[in-house]
Every structure is written in C-alpha cells, then in structure tokens.
Subunit: 336 residues, 2 copies
DNA sequence: TAAAATTACGTGAACGTTTACAGAGCCATT
DNA sequence: AATGGCTCTGTAAACGTTCACGTAATTTTA
C-alpha cells in the first residue's frame, strides 16, 4: 500500500527524477548503464508509474469511454467485450457506462466521461432522441457512434449495411423457392429498421415479388412483441411461406407462437432473423439469420476513434460493414 | 474543445481560484452571493471540473476496476451491467477488463488497473490459478472477489451458496417424486462445483437416496460438453428419472442430446440446471433451474469494496447469498 | 470600546509526472 | 588552444485541482 514514486527511486539511485523518467520512457538521451541500473532498481522497489500524474501533464488519459444501452442484450455485451479487448491491445482502457435506453442518462454519463477526461467516446445510442443532442455532445470530445441512424448528420459512425442484410435474406429465401415472404416487425421510428425494410422492399421489386409487411407499433424488438404479433398473425389464414423478421429476438418470439399454434418450423413455414445474437445458435433455436460482424465493428470503431483523437480536425468518417448469411435450420427449400 | 479551468473562471469572476473551488465543493466558508455568482458563471463558461487533477491531490480516483473473464457469457455480462449501474449510483465509475479466462492476463490487467490508480478492484476469477497470486495481488489495492473458491483464503468475497442451491434442487426433484436423480457434469477442480456436488450428495443422504454422479473431465461447462456427455449417457439404458446439471449451459446441451435420442423433456426425463442464465428463460428452453441473485451480488460486492476502501484495515468480509428455485417447464411430477 | 471570535477570501504548497532548457564533461575539428 | 558539437544529466516549470494557513473585514462579547 506504500506508493513508491519517481522521487523515491531517484533518491536511492542518486540521480534526479528526470533521469528516472527518461529511463522509463525509453528516451534516447540517457546512457545504457544508468538506464539498466534504474530499471532494475524500479523493479526491486516495486515502482508503478502513476498514470494519473502522467495524464495531468500529457493532457490525455488513454481512456476511452463507452456508452452502451444495456449489457443484458447479448449483441451489445459481446460488442463491448470485443471493444475492450481491442482497445486494450491498442493501449487504451475502457470506462463503461450503461444508459438503460434513457436519453437523459446518455447525456448525463457523457458529461461524466468528459469530466473524467476520457480521450474519446464510443457511443451506442439507445434510441432516436440522440439526434437532438448530437452536436452539443460531440463538440466536447471525439466521438464515434455504432449505429445506423446517422447518415444525415456530420458524425463518425460505423454500422452494418442493414439494407444489404435484408437484401441477402430476401434473395436467400427466394433462392429456396419462396415467393410469398412476410417482412415481420418493421419498426417505424428506427432508421436501422427503415433500412432493413427498404432492403426487403427493393429486393422484392427486383425479383418481382409482392411485398407483405407486418409493421410493429412497439418501440423495441423483444421476444414478447414477436410472440404477441405472431399470435395474431397465425390465428388467420395466410399465404406466406416464409417470414423474415427484423430482429432475431422477434424471430424467437415468432417461433414460440408458431409452436403454440401447432405450426412447425421449417416444415410449415420458414423463418429468418437478423442480428445473429448468440441465442440464435442454440440447437433449440437454430435460427437462420443475418450476421452483424461484431468483431469488425469493434475494431473499426476503435480505429476510427483513435484516428479522430490523433487528428480531430479530419473529415467525419463513416464505415458501413457488410452483413453475411448464417445458414441454420429454420428455413427449407420448397417446390416451385 | 477549449478546456476551461478553475483559473479561467476565477479570472472572470475576479476572485482567487480557491474561492471558485470552494463554491463548487460546497464548502461553508463562502458567502451565498459569491457562491451563486460563481456557480452561474461556471455554467455560462461551460466549466467542467477536471477529475484527473482532483484525483491527483485527493489521492483517489473514484474508479473501480472490474476484471471479468468474458462478456460473452450472459451471467457475467449481466453481472457487469448491475455492477456498473450500482457503482455509478454510489459515485464510482467502472473500468472494465476482460481476462479471457487467462490467468496471466488476469495478473496483467490487475497491474494495469493498479497503475491507473483505481480505488479498488472487483474480480471474477476465470479459473483456479488465482490461488497462487492471491496475496501478491490483493496487497496492492482493496479487492473483492465474486467467487465461491476462497473460503480458505483471507480475502473479501461474495458468492452464492452453491451447496444450498443443489440442496434446493435435489429436494425439489424429490418432492416431485423423483428417487433416482443423476448429478450431471461434476467438475473436479472447481470449488464452486465441489460445493454444488456436496449439496447434492448431502441431500441424497438426508433423503435416503442413492447418489448417481456423472463427473466431467472438461474444464469448462459448455453446451458442447453437455451434449457430448449426454450423448454417451442416453446411448445406454438408465434408471434415473431426473438429471440435475451443474450448470445451465450443460443442461441446454443435454436437452439437445435428448432431442436427438428421441427422449422428451420433461415427459421421459426431468431436467434441471444451475445459474439461471437468460437463455434458460427462452420458451424453447424453459429450464427449471437455480437462480443466482445477480443484482444482490453486484450490490453486495460494491458495498463490500467501498467498505474496504474506506477502512482497509478491517477484517476480511465474506457474504454468501441464498440461491432460489426458478420453476419452469423442464421437470414433471411422477407417480410414486 | 477594546478584545475576541467569526466570516470570507487570498496565498502558496502539494499531488507525481513530463519536458524545455541549461549546463557539465568530453572529444574532434580548426 | 580555442571553438563547436556531441552525450548525458540536472533544474524548474507546468498540468488543474485541494487544502492548510494567513489575514483583512466584520460581528460579537465583556
């Protein structure tokens, strides 16, 4: 518990503390002998550099703030894990804050992190209210968003190509012979979901399919929402042979409703999701879905942020990563 | 991007910077007028206190380090989320590091966090190698473990009562009429698993049941392990009517193997897990299990750590929280 | 009304680093 | 032998706070 400082080491070594600092920082302005001697002494004395003091003078902390809506959501917690590992490999630590999908909290923890002098912030917005506060937040500190909602704003962000995702999904279902595909759970307010819907609609048009859309009036894409909506849907006669859900969680709810209604997947109807959350890989679920490249997103977000930190005056960057098909057991090929 | 400091505010206000500091810290040694005037000015000028500088002189950072094996595991990411929220409510931020179940990394990030001058560390060990390094780590900074492996060491920890958990589970299965209960996936090296096994064995003895144990030679309790082990098990004739798994993930693997073998749960055999991870609540899984009180554990760990920070010389604390039964659909009552 | 107590504020040191600058010692060049 | 240029090390200021101390102005007390 006794904090041994540069000065302590310097005193024992019989040099000034600037010399010790030089020995540790790898400065060339020091002879090899003294460097070795000092380094050895540091070890012996159990010296640990105080990064607070260093931050004080260097005017940077090597800390990245992360604002994430929730760590209960597997997609976000996995992303968080990736971000932490990659950031640490690049010499940065992560200060994590959960916003609980609450925009006031988002602003509050943003200010908190700024006060903590983080070098930059990676933010996964929890909703759409973020637009109002965008510039007042990002003017304070370099910020990168992980979100598909920001095309029209001068901000840095990385996201997955949602349009392309539903395009891939629709084409896949088409290739299996499906001609009546229901797009399930289109949320109105989210731009992410708008792009997914558009990918579906555009592909329908390209393939000459008639689009069927079941919009969601809910503000989140939970299993419960999927279950409720699908219960309604299955209670009537329908001609669709496949359902493309706007999110995996919805699809899992749909699965349950299908089970309750005695409808078998994929025998009676094919089902696809979007996100590839870890749940979906469970054999009991085994959902064919569109993968978001979590690791790539994490790496890209950190890289982008560090670029912005190094060069804050640079143009805003955007990176849109390609999604990919994950083929599992929830879709089947049907006769034409 | 222009950092406005105490001095700037002081200059504009025409007072010394000590006065500004007093106005902000709520010191009584200042008149109400000047305080209001300064506070208003701070707002106008967009002043944010620099917590680095404050940490420098106060010799504390109000930061807690968290070392967690992985954020892919839902149990741990949920725990992390709870820790963050509660710690923030108590005025602390969380610096999170993933150890990837690697003990060398555990030691490395511990040192990193110490260098960052965190006020304390909450550590969820990823394995058993932790024993070797225990005292050399915890002598550096107040530390609280979340782990059931530390009864024999003078450390602070909180955990769930694993013995009680399997006791509850065994009694529950007994109450449903089961007399032949297999304990599935007992890991040898983990003390957590040792306690779970002991709870089962003790309860068998108490109830006059003959224990059946299927040990696991694997070092982790994954779905794949459960699937493989259960495949073997189901390929032979067995008399057990219920399986109690040492972890939910194992049970999910068992479910899959049962499905492959044409064995229906709970009709043909009852199945229980331990942990209550979020997967288990999915209707497609619907696993009866033993809950670990994540939120209570998080709150207790933070409270305990802050106690230790305030009073480092105090006796080591241990808190063992009660688990609880979560009744779902994977067990059935059988005729006696 | 003088002494004592109180209030409100300023002064300056401290926290543990980094770094610009200066300077000492040595060797090579003219 | 004087000058210049190295190489190495020391000095001191700075980063933005907090806080112990000092002190002037004001109020209270005897």
């Amino acid at each position: 518990m006794a904090p041994v400082t540069l000065k302590d080491v310097a005193k024992v070594a019989g040099v000034s503390y600037a010399t010790v600092s030089r020995a540790l920082s790898g400065s060339p302005e020091i002879s090899e002998d003294t460097r070795c001697r000092i380094l050895k002494l540091c070890k012996e004395m159990g010296y640990t550099p105080n990064s607070i003091a260093r931050s004080m003078v260097k005017r940077r902390t090597d800390i990245i703030g992360l604002i994430v809506p929730s760590l209960n959501n597997p997609f976000m917690s996995e992303l968080t894990g990736q971000l932490e590992i990659y950031a640490r490999n690049r010499g940065y630590n992560l200060m994590v804050c959960c916003s609980s999908y609450d925009h006031d909290l988002e602003k509050e923890v943003f200010a908190l992190l700024v006060g903590r002098q983080v070098d930059g912030i990676i933010m996964i917005p929890g909703g759409n209210e973020i637009y109002e506060s965008l510039s007042s937040l990002t003017s304070q500190v370099p910020t990168v968003f992980i979100s598909d909602n920001l095309q029209d704003y001068p901000e840095n962000y990385v996201c997955v190509d949602n349009f392309r995702g539903t395009q891939i999904a629709t084409e896949y279902l088409y290739s299996l012979g499906h001609r009546d595909i229901l797009y399930f759970g289109a949320r109105q307010k989210s731009k992410t979901h708008k792009h997914r819907l558009e990918g579906y609609l555009a592909t329908c048009e390209k393939l000459g399919l008639e689009p069927h859309v079941l919009p969601s009036s809910y503000s989140r894409s939970s299993r419960e929402v999927g279950y409720t909506m699908a219960g309604d849907y299955f209670s009537k006669k329908n001609r669709e042979t496949a359902i493309l859900c706007a999110a995996d969680m919805l699809a899992i709810g749909v699965m349950q409703a299908a089970f309750d209604a005695g409808i078998r997947i994929p025998r009676d109807i094919s089902l696809m999701g979007f996100d590839n959350i870890s749940f979906s890989a469970l054999p009991q679920i085994d959902l064919t879905t569109i993968n978001q490249p979590t690791q790539q997103m994490a790496i890209a977000a950190v890289d982008m942020l560090l670029d912005r930190i190094k060069n804050p005056e640079a143009e805003h960057a955007r990176l849109i990563l390609p999604p990919s098909l994950v083929e599992r057991k929830s879709c089947r090929s049907i006769a034409k």
